[in-house]
Symmetry: C2
Subunit: 181 residues, 2 copies
C-alpha cells in the first residue's frame, strides 16, 4: 500500500485527453511540443505522446500565464528560469497599457468618423479631463478636496489610480506628476 500511496497521481494522459482537461485543442499541444514549451513526459513504442503529472502541472502554469497575455516565448523563458517571473509580468503590464491606449485611440477615431467628424479642434484628453474636474466642482468639491481624493486613491489602490488616469487619455508624464502630487 505504501508503494501505491507514495505517488499521489500516476495518471498518464494522451494528447487529446490532456487538451480536454484544459479546454485546449490537440493542435495547440502539438504546437507547444514543437516549440519546446511543453514536451511530453514519455512516448509509447508507436511514438504516441504521454503526459504525466509534471507535464500537467507545467501546462497549468502555461495556461495561467497565457491568461495574462504573455507570449509563448516569454512563458518558456519564465518556466525554464531564464527570466524572473516578476520582470516578465511587469513588462507585460506595460505592453497591455500600450495596447489599451492604442485601442482607446482607435475607438475615438471610429466614434468621430461615425458621428461625422465632431469638434476636431479640441483633444479628447483635454475634454475628458475638463469634464471630470467640471463634474467634481459641480458636486461642490474644491481643489483641496480633489487633492485629498487623489491622495486617497493613490494610497488605497495605486495601480487602479494609474489606470484611471490613463483612461482619461493623459500622457505618461502627466500621470506621473499627478501621482506624485
Amino acid at each position: 500500500m505504501a508503494g501505491r500511496s507514495r505517488k499521489p497521481d500516476g495518471t498518464v494522459l494522451t494528447i487529446t485527453a490532456l487538451g480536454r482537461q484544459f479546454g485546449l485543442a490537440r493542435s495547440t499541444l502539438l504546437h507547444y511540443d514543437k516549440l519546446g514549451l511543453l514536451k511530453p513526459t514519455a512516448s509509447t513504442a508507436a511514438g504516441y505522446r504521454q503526459y504525466g503529472p509534471a507535464a500537467l502541472a507545467r501546462l497549468k502554469r502555461i495556461v495561467q500565464l497565457r491568461a495574462a497575455g504573455l507570449s509563448l516565448e516569454s512563458i518558456r523563458n519564465v518556466l525554464d528560469s531564464r527570466r524572473p517571473l516578476a520582470e516578465a509580468l511587469e513588462q507585460q503590464v506595460l505592453l497591455l497599457n500600450r495596447q489599451m491606449q492604442s485601442n482607446r485611440e482607435q475607438l475615438r477615431v471610429a466614434s468621430e468618423l461615425l458621428s461625422g467628424a465632431v469638434r476636431p479642434g479640441i483633444s479628447r484628453a483635454a475634454l475628458t479631463k475638463q469634464a471630470w474636474t467640471a463634474m467634481f466642482r459641480a458636486i461642490g468639491l474644491s481643489d483641496d478636496d480633489m487633492h485629498a481624493w487623489h491622495c486617497r486613491f493613490e494610497q488605497d489602490t495605486p495601480e487602479a489610480h494609474q489606470r484611471f488616469l490613463e483612461s482619461l487619455g493623459l500622457g505618461a508624464a502627466e500621470v506621473k506628476r499627478i501621482r506624485k502630487w
Copy 2:
C-alpha cells in the same frame, strides 16, 4: 492658362515619395497594390508606379480608416462601396470593445500574479467598485450625491461614462443599469 488651371493638382508621385507624404513605408504601398486596395494611377514605360491626385485622396481615406483599426479587407469593401461605412465602423466599435475587455482581463490576471495571488475569493470588479464608493464616501459624499454625479456624467459625456464604468470591470448588464439609473 485655362488649360493649366483647370486641374487643381497635377502632381504625380513615385511610390516612395507617396509613402513619405503619409509616413508609410514603400513595402506598405507595395502591399496595398498587391491586395488591390490602392492601385497606382498609371505606370511609366519601365513599369514604375505613378500615383496621381485620385490615388492620393484614396490613400488619405485608407490611412484614416486604419487609424480606426479597420482591416485592409474591410477598408477595401467600404471604399469600393460594397459595404456602408457606418456599418463597418459600428462593427469595429464592437470589436474594439471586446479587445479592451480582453485587455482588462489580462491586466487583471497579470496584476494578480504580480502581487502573488491576492484574495482569490473576491472578484476584482467588486474590489474596484468597492474602492470607488469607499473613496467617494471618504470625501463626504452621500448616495444621493453619487447619483447626481452619475447623472451629470451620463448627460455630459455618455460615451466616457460608459468607458469609465467598463474600466471598473463591470459587466454589460450592470453598466446598462447604472446608466439608466
